[in-house]
């Protein structure tokens, strides 16, 4: 019995290995939310995220025989989704021009407002970042990649990775502060 995967999951994986469409559908449904949340933070829109997620699942279903079932399926799925998103970035968005971060001396954020924000809203802020910032931020902050790994994955220097992360944070702070200001204006109006 594998350490990570439950008996139900194991059964689903066996069905998927036999290309059983019902098993594939059940596995898809079970990991849909998890996979979509990964893809959303690497893309600009839900449509794009859906495209990458389905590409990732296609890889999973067609290459499932290369998955070592003694390991965590969730971890493997996460890796496949991230790699698919990175491939997508390499092929589609590589030459996109980076925006400059607006000059901001000090950015203040109201915690109470942030606490009221839904997770979708927060992740949508990441989606608003330029691709280079978005990828570095997601890889470094959410998925725990080091700058060396990011540099290797995105074919940039370690310095550029650090710089992009710093600018991405700055940009996110600005966006959060703008939300504060908007909320303040709405209340005082």
């Amino acid at each position: 019995m594998p350490e990570y995967n439950s008996a139900v999951l194991q059964e689903l994986l066996d069905g998927c290995l036999q290309k059983n469409r019902r098993s594939q559908e059940l596995l898809y449904k079970q990991f849909y939310g998890y996979a979509m949340s990964i893809c959303l933070r690497y893309t600009r829109s839900r449509e794009e995220a859906k495209e990458i997620m389905n590409d990732g699942f296609l890889k999973i279903f067609t290459k499932l025989d290369s998955f070592d079932q003694s390991r965590s399926f969730k971890s493997w799925l996460s890796r496949v989704m991230i790699n698919t998103a990175l491939d997508h970035y390499r092929h589609e968005i590589r030459h996109e021009v980076l925006d400059d971060v607006e000059a901001a001396d000090q950015v203040f954020v109201d915690e109470t407002v942030i606490n009221k924000m839904a997770h979708e809203e927060i992740i949508s802020l990441v989606q608003e970042l330029t691709p280079a910032y978005r990828l570095v931020f997601s890889l470094a902050v959410i998925d725990g990649y080091t700058h060396e790994e990011i540099a290797e994955q995105l074919n940039i220097s370690v310095g550029a990775s650090k710089s992009n992360l710093s600018r991405a944070r700055e940009k996110l702070r600005i966006m959060l502060s703008k939300i504060n200001i908007d909320n303040y204006e709405r209340v005082t109006r």
């Binding site: 469409r21 594939q24 559908e25 898809y28 449904k29 849909y32 939310g33 998890y34 979509m36 949340s37 990964i38 959303l40 933070r41 859906k50 389905n54 699942f57 296609l58 279903f61 067609t62 290459k63 290369s66 070592d68 390991r71 965590s72 971890s75 493997w76 890796r79 496949v80 790699n83 491939d87 390499r90 000090q106 950015v107 203040f108 954020v109 109201d110 915690e111 942030i114 997770h119 979708e120 927060i122 992740i123 802020l125 990441v126 931020f137 997601s138 902050v141 959410i142 725990g144 080091t146 060396e148 790994e149 540099a151 290797e152 994955q153 944070r169 996110l172 702070r173 959060l176 504060n180």
Partner: protein, 510 residues
């Protein structure tokens, strides 16, 4: 209000990412389900993508074998025909008579359409034989035949034969060689005939002269039938004499025919026809041999040379190949076999030396031990490193090889090849194996593409080629790829061994 520090900002986004749960949308599954149908080969497009290479190979093989069988059958027919001819007659082989009959049929049918009476039909038949373009050619043949074959038999035979031939099936002219009929026995070998007289050089192409020539020929035949009679045709050598002398008609003499003697001439033509046909019958039974008849100076060797010169020498060839192959790092850790397909173009620099290039796509499966795989520096922050890696790499390869033909027979040849290849690592998938249990390893697997490695491998091969036909051949070619550069994400020395199974097509450019 406060400034949000980095760690708190990170915590905020990390938490949202972990807790975000999207609602399932059935439309998304439908889209994936269609893609899965395609990947499983359930849609025609995907089926085609999956099987086109095998289909093409099968088609080429079938085509090659078919061409080979057809070519062989045609050759056998020609050989049988030649064998028959050699065993039967000297001047005009048996089928030549059939041909003459066929021509007679044609002429008679034509005349029948003109509502001519029986006598005139015979007369006009002779005229036709000496006139029109194509019948003119036959007339030349007849001209020779008449001067050598006549034996003065009664002309009534002709009427009988003509009547008999009226009911026979007419062979179209384009069926000139159908059923072994050989239409042009008097053409030189250089012109596609069997080496008897070539009168074309003596005859002006203008119809007037041809007509004149026809008359002179008839006149000569009459003279010969009167003087020499059947004696001439009882000897094959005598026939050869005729062939060698100027006894054949000369166009310039055409004007010597008296214009007023038309009716007499027609009568004579009828007699000539009788002589001619009877002469053919005699020829049928003759056993003399053709080489004696061939006029001196017939450019046999010259003709052969010309044929060789005209035969286009193939400069280009295209090869489609499939290969099972084994890849390894360090020449000992063989893993599962991979496959490769290639499309190559060959150009003959010299008769035996070809330059070869094209594109190859391969799937290389290999296993590398920890010491053979160069781990990226960033990986050392993971406490436990993998003990080995299983790699599956999709590689596009551009080879540049020279191929030299070592030994060659009519149908087969042995060759050796050498050169260099550039690799493009299109897709690299690595599964990392750990000897100890690692809780959530950072690198359970990895997928990437590291791009081009120019002239990264040396190629060497030997092969055997078997020709199915002039244009198609089959090749078996064991090969090896020896690394001169490390390739891939893990920078490995990747050896590859395999055997190409190829179909080689040699197009002929006119």
């Amino acid at each position: 209000m406060k400034e949000l520090p980095d760690d708190e900002l990170d915590k905020l986004f990390k938490k949202s990412a972990e807790e975000l749960d999207s609602i399932f949308d059935p439309q998304d599954w439908n889209a994936l389900s269609k893609s899965l149908d395609g990947a499983d080969g359930k849609t025609p497009a995907m089926w085609w993508r999956k099987w086109w290479s095998a289909g093409l190979l099968a088609l080429l093989m079938t085509g090659g074998i078919g061409t080979y069988l057809l070519t062989n059958n045609a050759k056998e027919s020609e050989n049988n025909f030649a064998a028959k001819n050699a065993g039967q007659t000297s001047i005009g082989p048996a089928p030549a008579i059939k041909k003459d009959e066929a021509d007679n049929n044609k002429t008679v049918e034509k005349l029948a359409g003109e509502n001519l009476d029986g006598q005139n039909k015979d007369v006009v038949r002779i005229k036709n034989a000496g006139q029109g373009d194509e019948t003119g050619t036959v007339a030349k043949s007849d001209g020779v035949g008449i001067s050598t074959r006549e034996n003065g038999l009664p002309g009534t035979v002709v009427n009988k034969e003509i009547a008999a031939t009226k009911n026979r099936k007419i062979l179209p002219r384009r069926w000139s060689k159908t059923g072994g009929v050989y239409l042009e026995p008097n053409r030189s070998i250089g012109r596609g005939g069997d080496g008897a007289f070539n009168l074309a050089d003596n005859v002006d192409n203008s119809s007037g002269i041809q007509r004149g020539a026809g008359k002179v020929r008839e006149k000569e035949v009459l003279e010969q039938s009167g003087s020499a009679g059947s004696e001439v045709f009882n000897s094959g050598n005598r026939m050869a004499e005729n062939a060698g002398t100027d006894n054949v008609f000369k166009p310039g003499v055409a004007d010597n025919i008296p214009v007023g003697s038309h009716d007499v001439a027609e009568e004579n033509r009828l007699l000539i026809a009788a002589d001619l046909l009877e002469a053919r019958a005699m020829v049928w039974n003759k056993t003399s041999t053709l080489p004696k008849v061939r006029p001196a100076g017939t450019p046999v060797l010259e003709t052969t040379k010309t044929a060789e010169e005209k035969e286009p020498s193939p400069k280009f060839a295209v090869r489609f190949s499939y290969s099972p192959e084994l890849s390894t790092v360090g020449v000992k850790n063989f893993s599962k076999p991979g496959t490769a397909v290639s499309l190559l173009i060959e150009y003959a620099l010299f008769r035996k030396l070809y330059i070869q290039t094209g594109v190859t796509r391969s799937s290389k499966v290999y296993n590398a031990k920890a010491g053979e795989y160069e781990w990226p520096a960033s990986w050392y922050d993971q406490k436990v490193l993998p003990t080995s890696v299983d790699g599956v790499c999709k590689i596009i390869e551009i080879p540049l090889n020279l191929r030299y033909d070592i030994a060659q027979t009519e149908r087969s040849r042995w060759f050796a090849g050498a050169g260099a290849s550039s690799y493009y690592m299109q897709n690299e998938k690595y599964d990392y194996n750990y000897s100890k249990y690692v809780h959530y390893p950072k690198w359970p697997n990895y997928e990437t593409s590291t791009g081009w490695y120019w002239l990264s491998h040396l190629n060497a091969s030997v092969g055997y080629e078997y020709r199915l036909s002039k244009k198609l051949s089959l090749i078996a070619e064991p090969y090896v790829r020896i690394p001169v550069k490390k390739v891939g994400f893990g920078k490995v020395d990747l050896f590859t061994f395999g055997t190409w199974f190829s179909v080689r097509y040699t197009p002929v450019f006119k």
